[in-house]
């Protein structure tokens, strides 16, 4: 029996040692990648994520904005015949427009959801406030391109995410701005003068005073957008913004500009100078030249075409272009002194706020002040912003927008679009006043084609050239012009149920460029 005792002991020891070595306490350590950041390191360098977030607002700028909104706003036009049928003659290119959808989810909302997952809301509400403001700024561009989008349910499923109506999206925006404002005010009260984001913040260098102004201004911009669709909310939110503590962006020093960093180049410079794919739009050219606007040489570079050198002749949207060389020499954007390789890119200006207040005053909203004062201040702030103060400009009642002449193809010619002058006319009708405000706003907020296209759709101003060729197969009216972009095909393949449901129940029309968005109501401005 001696052997058996010994044997049992040995077996038992075997198992004991085996199991001891089998302790799995190290598993989490083993399964943690030492070449990646730990959670605490992530928190420690959280602020460094903000620069890339801000830069992502203009991700894939050429396809996401330049080859659509910038042209639809009358600002710019490409001399490059990319395809016979493409966005610029109203045949929507899925591969381009998709970037204006997916990038904001992938590069802005997704990282911000990780910022939330890191517990930032509780640990650093001030950082969370800035993240929310960046998200609203970025996602507003998406909903204003497409209409209903997945927003409140984003991040809840890998395989199907429901869309929200555009009204719900805007309401969510307002409520997120509420959160941001409250968090910022609380932080600023508790930590006066502190700027934890520092230089990681490429817009305001971490200044929460400016971010608070930005939050109020963003609220005002969004409020005015929905004035036709939901006037009650619009007025309430606008008044809240105009009467808010912290105020609005009011001087050029408040302008929200994304500084270039990390090897990123100014997008206008890239598409215009580096790619040679962007030139001055005919509409902007005719207004600026017609008005003898001091911003003309600031925004634009004259033609280099040997047939008409030095002239500010833009390209009309939707024309026939046989070869890039035909229109490459037309007037361009000023990439030598303003839209340079390293120039910052604006997302919102003080001038825009003055014009929004002017419109609010026109509508009789409280806190808006006087329409004429707002209007004139807006113009002067814009001129100051570009370093060309011209005190007499606001008093110019004679200059009118010019007609368009295409020296290479007379079929593109057009008479002047508008007879609106610069000087404020208190006796004018509300409609004329609005055209004046929006036309000057349009000249002031250049080159943000996204915002300008939204104003055009909402108000019908400024008056813009129609496309010469319309390849939309009847889905988009040449006269009323394009109202939105179509959802990317990738949504139909990956998120099919949700997007089909959105088109049927939320969009209010077919999924094409002719369908009006929720805030784009087909009725008069007043």
């Amino acid at each position: 029996m001696q052997i058996s005792y010994k044997s049992i002991t040995v077996i038992f020891l075997t198992l004991l040692i085996g199991s001891l070595s089998g302790c799995t306490k190290d598993f989490e350590k083993i399964d943690t990648n030492p070449t990646a950041l730990s959670n605490s390191q992530t928190i420690a360098i959280l602020s460094t994520a903000y620069g890339p977030l801000e830069q992502s607002i203009y991700s894939n700028y050429q396809t996401a904005q330049n080859l659509s909104a910038d042209a639809y706003a009358g600002y710019m036009m490409s001399p490059t015949p990319f395809k016979a049928e493409y966005n610029l003659n109203y045949f929507l290119v899925d591969g381009w427009d998709r970037n204006g959808f997916v990038d904001q989810y992938n590069l802005v909302m997704a990282p911000i959801s990780k910022i939330a997952a890191a517990g930032t809301q509780a640990k650093a509400p001030d950082l969370w406030a800035v993240a929310l403001l960046i998200q609203v700024e970025a996602m507003d561009r998406v909903t204003d391109r497409f209409g209903p989008i997945p927003y409140s349910k984003a991040g809840t499923s890998l395989t199907s995410v429901a869309y929200d109506s555009q009204q719900a999206v805007y309401n969510e925006f307002f409520s997120q701005i509420d959160t941001a404002v409250a968090d910022l005010q609380a932080y600023m009260a508790a930590n006066p003068g502190k700027a934890p984001l520092g230089t990681s913040d490429l817009i305001y260098g971490g200044s929460y005073t400016e971010w608070l102004k930005f939050a109020n201004s963003l609220r005002l911009r969004l409020a005015m957008r929905i004035v036709k669709a939901d006037p009650v909310t619009a007025q309430a939110q606008a008044e809240k913004a105009m009467n808010a503590t912290g105020g609005l962006l009011s001087a050029p020093s408040d302008d929200a500009l994304i500084a270039q960093s990390g090897g990123r180049n100014n997008d206008i410079w890239t598409v215009t100078q580096s790619y040679g794919d962007n030139r001055l739009g005919a509409a902007l050219a005719t207004y600026l030249t017609g008005y003898s606007d001091p911003r003309l040489p600031v925004y634009c570079a004259p033609a280099t075409d040997p047939a008409f050198p030095g002239q500010y002749i833009g390209i009309r949207i939707g024309i026939n272009i046989a070869a890039k060389s035909d229109y490459e020499g037309y007037a361009s954007l000023n990439t030598t002194s303003n839209f340079t390789q390293t120039a910052p890119q604006l997302i919102m200006t003080a001038a825009e706020m003055w014009f929004l207040k002017a419109e609010a005053a026109l509508r009789g909203w409280s806190g808006a002040g006087d329409a004429q004062t707002d209007y004139e201040t807006g113009i002067n702030v814009s001129l100051a912003q570009w370093g060309v103060p011209s005190p007499n400009y606001i008093n110019d009642a004679t200059h009118l927008p010019a007609a368009y002449t295409d020296p290479k193809n007379s079929t593109n010619n057009s008479p002047a679009l508008s007879t609106i002058t610069i000087q404020w006319d208190p006796a004018a009708t509300d409609e004329q006043k609005l055209e004046r405000i929006i036309t000057q706003k349009w000249l002031a907020i250049f080159p943000d084609g996204q915002e300008a296209w939204a104003d055009f759709r909402r108000t019908g101003y400024p008056r813009l050239f129609t496309v010469v060729n319309n390849e939309s197969n009847g889905t988009i009216s040449t006269q009323t012009q394009i109202r939105r972009l179509a959802y990317p095909v990738s949504e139909y393949t990956a998120n099919g149920t949700a997007v089909n449901n959105a088109v049927q129940t939320l969009l209010g029309g077919a999924d094409n460029g002719g369908t009006r968005l929720w805030w784009d109501v087909n009725k008069g401005n007043f």
Partner: protein, 1131 residues
């Protein structure tokens, strides 16, 4: 209880679970053990009485009452007389003496084995003559160097005969001119002259004919073949070394049913893709686990890895298994099914290749030397046209006017005769207490592409020692491998000399470019003497081989140790461990002058990496057999193991500052033109640290030598599942085999009939770092969020496998047939999926999929002729495998998983529901309902008829062979032996993008033929329905050819039948007692003849040994044909 304090909170739960499980396993086995814990070995008393008992009955009773097992040849006891016995409490010896009395049978007892042998006839020789003879002594071992006890040593033509003792030693009186015969059940008999020195070392090979064949199974356990419930196949070291190659796995090709080997087309030292019973894992590893002497090793590739796209670019740096010295291998067992492998757990889902290495032998020192030389030449060339020249001066294609004298063979100017020298020596010596084995091998090979070289040195020392009355056995083994591979040929479009070589305009003279590939007086890109820079980025072939050198060096140490202690005759405990550490260095230099694609600033480009991969393994196993007194016998094991894998290293690469100065400090660290960013060019290799712990058990129950039941259970704990609710998973297997010939009365011509069946589950874990998602930072120090979705509910992959089979032997064991049917379903596969945009995740992971492999395997061996000095044995192995993708992830509406993306080339490989693994997708030609090609165009010169390409990718083929067959033959006549192996892989399709590109450039023979006959003859129609029969060749081939063309037109049958290897050997007569004991010289050849091959390349060659890129040729180096000599000398 202190023990628990180590394992905190939730970890403690894992520990407790494990404890509970191991306790469960233990209790089961211990209970059985305790019940019968009265073993007393030889002092065991038995009682036995009965009348007219057959010897088999007697043996069976003894087996029931004692721990002993009997081995005997059935023929030997067939004619024995029934016995009448009345025994009570007698010893085993007494019982045996009683029943064997007068039966002309004798017995030997070694440990728990009783061997019954035929007694040699009565001694009729004059005993006085014997006294004149001296005693000859020696040792008998098996191929693994283990001593063989109970071997009958008989002097030929005499009646003198002895048996070896427990250490394999014997001593017998014999004259030096006499011949000794060695025989034992289970091994091939051997004859050997005594010789002058009277010290003899004999190795007996495992018999292919024997019933009680011993097979090495999982964890290195030796078991009798008849008790196995699954199929295994063994290949001996001799067979493996007959015709050597630079990667030993290639020597297995065609020899094992169900084993598919696809060598990489990457020159000497290249990897091999080894697949057992079909690919099954979409995103995981599909290659088997390699195990040496029971302990797993790694098969790690060079840090450079494998190409992942048709562009190729990064050369293959060889795999782990190719590092071994094949001369050290005693035998290889292939455990194909999950059942066989279940004890190895997750790592063995794809089967196991078990390698048993040689050991030192007790007895006289022996030295073996072998030397092998082969000369390698390319086995085929692309067919090129010779009658049409360059399109116009400066053009890279050959759609120009007809020329004469375009026959010059540019390929001959480039390819060289490769050589492979392998010299190996091994020495073994030892006493009965300690044995030593030492070996050294040097492989020195040169590829067919200039500059491609392999230099490998292997050192092995192994020591085996016995202590404490042989109760303690210690075995330690150190292998060191130093290997350098130079200039592995790049496969694919990038950096490949073959693009420039094959596409060189016909009729132009390439020799100036060979003689002067660089302009020494120029700088930057202008240095390379090459007139073309086209969309394929082709370069001067000689520039690439001289001015873009790459070197992969590897230093590998493999240390194995094991200690076994025999606690009792029924129990031993074994501890084993190994450390397998591989350090790889890789350097790739691109000199200034290299195409701008690879060398942005024109100053040259450097890539360096160093990587150390380490696997540590340890196990603790108790082997037991229960000394139970009944018809039932139980043995088994319980154990636990731990495996820890990790990788460390750095990579750096970038353009150079000072031209052609290849040192890390010369890499430009900041991006040109930017001021604010500094990028680091150094990256740490992700360590992929993972640990697997296991507790396992196995029980084998046999009944009366004809029914065998095997049960296994294993529980794994995988660190890769940390952060999930459960990182533990269990899987069982059960198998049964029945020996029909011992159960039932079978017709006489059936010597042996076994049926077997098993069911097994094997789990496979997921890659590390998927369950805890971590963020990273970019070169500018900014936080970069990882937006992959952490997989918190990840389940381990699981393969369910069923196997049924039979093993039969007929005609005096001369004909041996084995047949197996299997079906495996691999589920819960881990797939990365592309979630919807608004999910806010860039990647998601799901557990899904059901990939089924089912098939049959058979082997058939026939000892055809055994007449005098002439023998002929033949064997056939065959396998059919059907792979079906039953599901990808239908619950998430995902029905396709891309194995290889197209990256804008016309090849993609998929895993698509309803298809099979590795389906090839490409563009197809547009046809009408009648199958006629629909052409665009109006037939004018400005608007010629042109075939149309499908807008999307369509299924065009699958590369997996449907059926494989290997036929090997061995002839011997006196001192001459001849063997050959023919194998065929039938079915499947492969794609040649090489041919497509050659056609597009107008250099291929078909394009010349088409021009000669005035156009490409087709059955087509134009848009109006008008029949078109001829199309302009240039228009046609530029449309269908090229890397983005209509790849569906470049699909070929993958069927290939070849003379895989042949060896003609001659054993030289050596004088007895001379310096040499034996000398054998062989003429060897490999890949000698393609009996059938339709593809323009060897369809077996693969561009990558990973899961993708199968069945496509993109300027892969051609297969080679090898002829040489082999010399084996024993001192």
């Amino acid at each position: 209880m202190e023990l628990f304090t180590y394992c905190k909170n939730r970890q403690r739960r894992g520990f407790l679970q494990k404890m509970a499980l191991s306790m469960k396993l233990t209790t089961a086995f211990l209970l059985l053990a305790v019940m019968q814990i009265s073993a007393r070995g030889l002092s065991q008393k038995i009682s036995l009485s009965g009348k007219k008992l057959s010897l088999e009955e007697v043996f069976s009773v003894i087996e029931q009452q004692t721990p002993f097992s009997f081995v005997y040849k059935y023929n030997d006891i067939q004619r024995s007389q029934p016995v009448n016995l009345r025994l009570r409490n007698v010893s085993v010896q007494q019982a045996l003496d009683a029943c064997l009395k007068g039966q002309h049978l004798s017995y030997t007892i070694e440990k728990d084995i009783i061997a019954i042998k035929k007694e040699v006839g009565e001694d009729k020789e004059d005993s006085s003559s014997l006294s004149l003879l001296e005693a000859v002594s020696g040792v008998v071992t098996n191929e693994a160097g283990e001593p063989l006890a109970g071997v009958t040593v008989h002097v030929q033509g005499s009646t003198r005969s002895v048996a070896t003792d427990g250490k394999g030693a014997f001593s017998i009186q014999a004259d030096e001119k006499e011949i000794l015969e060695f025989s034992i059940v289970g091994y091939e008999s051997k004859r050997m002259p005594v010789g002058a020195d009277k010290k003899i070392v004999v190795t007996l090979a495992v018999s292919q004919k024997s019933i009680n064949e011993i097979v090495v199974t999982a964890l290195g356990i030796r078991r009798s073949e008849k008790s196995l419930t699954y199929a295994t196949q063994q290949v001996s070291g001799d067979e493996l070394n007959r015709v050597k190659t630079d990667n030993l796995m290639n020597s297995l090709n065609g020899k094992v049913a169900g084993l598919t080997i696809s060598p990489s087309a990457s020159g000497v030292g290249g990897s091999a893709k080894v697949i057992l019973r079909g690919s099954r894992s979409a995103n995981g590893n599909n290659q088997p686990l390699y195990v040496i002497d029971g302990v797993p090793i790694t098969n790690s590739a060079n840090a450079n890895g494998q190409p992942t796209s048709t562009y190729g670019g990064s050369p293959d740096g060889g795999d782990g298994i190719s590092n071994l010295n094949p001369e050290d291998i005693a035998s290889i067992s292939v455990l194909e099914g999950a059942s066989a492998a279940a004890l190895y757990g997750s790592q063995a889902q794809n089967g196991v290749i078990l390698i048993t290495t040689k050991k030192g032998r007790a007895g006289q020192a022996q030295i073996n030397f072998s030397s092998s030389f082969t000369a390698d030449n390319i086995a085929y060339k692309p067919s090129l046209q010779s009658s049409y020249g360059q399109t116009k001066s400066g053009a890279t294609d050959s759609w120009g006017p007809s020329i004469s004298g375009g026959n010059h063979d540019n390929l001959k100017d480039f390819f060289q005769t490769g050589t492979n020298w392998t010299n190996a020596i091994n020495l073994s010596t030892g006493s009965t207490n300690a044995q030593t084995y030492f070996s050294y091998a040097n492989t020195s090979a040169k590829g067919v592409e200039p500059g491609n070289k392999l230099e490998r040195n292997n050192f092995t020392v192994r020591e085996t020692a016995h202590f404490l009355n042989d109760k303690l056995t210690v075995d330690a083994n150190i292998n060191y491998v130093a290997q350098t591979i130079n200039n592995s040929p790049a496969l694919g479009i990038y950096n490949n000399p073959l693009t420039g070589l094959y596409l060189f305009p016909r009729g132009l003279d390439i020799t100036p470019y060979k003689n002067q590939y660089l302009f020494a007086d120029s700088t930057g890109f202008a240095r390379q003497n090459w007139p073309f820079n086209d969309a394929l980025y082709q370069q001067n072939p000689w520039w690439i081989v001289h001015m873009e050198p790459n070197t992969a060096t590897r230093n590998r140490i493999l240390f194995n140790g094991s200690v076994r202690y025999d606690v009792a005759s029924w129990l031993n405990i074994q501890v084993r461990g190994n450390v397998d550490r591989t350090a790889d260095n890789y350097e790739s230099d691109e000199y200034a002058g290299t195409n701008a694609l690879y060398n942005t600033n024109g100053h040259g480009h450097l890539m360096l990496s160093n990587q150390t991969t380490e696997q540590k393994y340890g196990d603790l196993i108790a082997n037991f057999h229960i000394p139970i007194h009944s018809d039932f016998k139980i043995d088994g094991l319980i154990g636990s193991s731990i495996t820890d894998n990790t990788t460390q290293g750095l990579t750096l690469q970038g353009d150079l500052s000072t031209p052609d100065f290849f040192t890390p400090g010369n890499i430009i660290a900041s991006l040109a033109g930017l001021t604010s960013i500094t990028t680091s060019n150094t990256t740490a290799i992700v360590p992929n640290h993972s640990q697997l712990q296991a507790v396992f058990g196995n029980a084998n129950v046999s009944y009366k030598d004809w029914a065998y039941l095997t049960l296994t259970g294993r529980n794994d704990w995988s660190s890769n599942l940390a952060f999930t609710p459960n990182f533990s998973y269990f899987y069982p297997s059960a198998g049964l085999s029945l020996i029909l010939n011992q159960m039932l009365k079978l017709p006489k011509f059936i010597d042996y009939a076994k049926i077997r069946g098993t069911y097994a589950q094997v789990g496979n874990t997921v890659p590390p770092y998927l369950t805890f998602i971590q963020n990273t930072q970019n070169a500018a120090g900014q936080l970069v969020f990882n937006t992959a979705n952490a997989f918190r509910t990840l389940k381990p992959e699981r393969t369910n496998s069923t196997e049924l089979g039979t093993d039969l032997r007929f005609l005096d064991n001369k004909l041996k047939v084995s047949f197996t049917y299997y079906k495996t379903n691999t589920k819960n596969q881990y797939f990365p999926i592309q979630p919807v945009t608004a999910s806010l995740y860039s990647t998601g992971y799901v557990n899904a999929g059901n990939i089924q492999n089912s098939g049959i395997e058979f082997t058939l061996g026939y000892d055809l002729i055994h007449r005098g000095a002439f023998t002929w044995t033949t064997s056939v192995n065959g396998a059919v495998n059907r792979n079906k993708v039953l599901d990808v992830d239908s619950k998430d509406s995902i029905n396709s998983f891309v194995l290889t993306s197209n990256y804008n080339n016309a090849y993609e490989s998929h895993l698509t529901k309803g298809g099979s693994y590795g389906d090839i997708y490409g563009y197809t030609i547009q046809r009408d309902a009648q199958g006629r090609i629909v052409l665009n165009g109006s037939g004018t010169a400005a608007d010629p008829y042109k075939p149309q390409q499908s807008s999307a990718f369509n299924y065009i083929g699958n590369p997996n062979p449907k059926f494989q067959l290997g036929w090997s033959n061995e002839f011997t006549y006196k001192k001459v032996s001849f063997s050959f192996l023919v194998d065929g892989k039938f079915g499947g399709q492969v794609l040649s993008l090489t041919q497509a590109i050659l056609d597009q450039y107008g250099v291929s023979k078909v394009t010349g033929d088409a021009r000669n006959q005035g156009g490409v003859k087709i059955n087509g129609v134009d848009n109006t329905g008008k029949a078109i029969t001829t199309v302009n060749p240039q228009v046609w081939y530029e449309a269908i050819g090229g890397r983005t063309g209509i790849s569906g037109e470049y699909i070929y049958s993958a069927t290939v039948v070849r003379l895989r290897e042949a060896a003609l050997g001659y054993t030289l007569p050596v004088p007895n007692g001379g310096f040499f004991k034996s000398v054998k010289l062989s003429l060897i050849g490999r890949n000698l003849i393609y009996f059938y091959k339709k593809a323009p390349f060897d369809p077996e060659l693969t561009m990558s040994t990973g899961n993708g890129l199968s069945g496509v040729d993109v300027f892969n180096q051609p297969a080679t044909r090898n002829i040489g000599l082999n010399l084996n000398v024993t001192f």
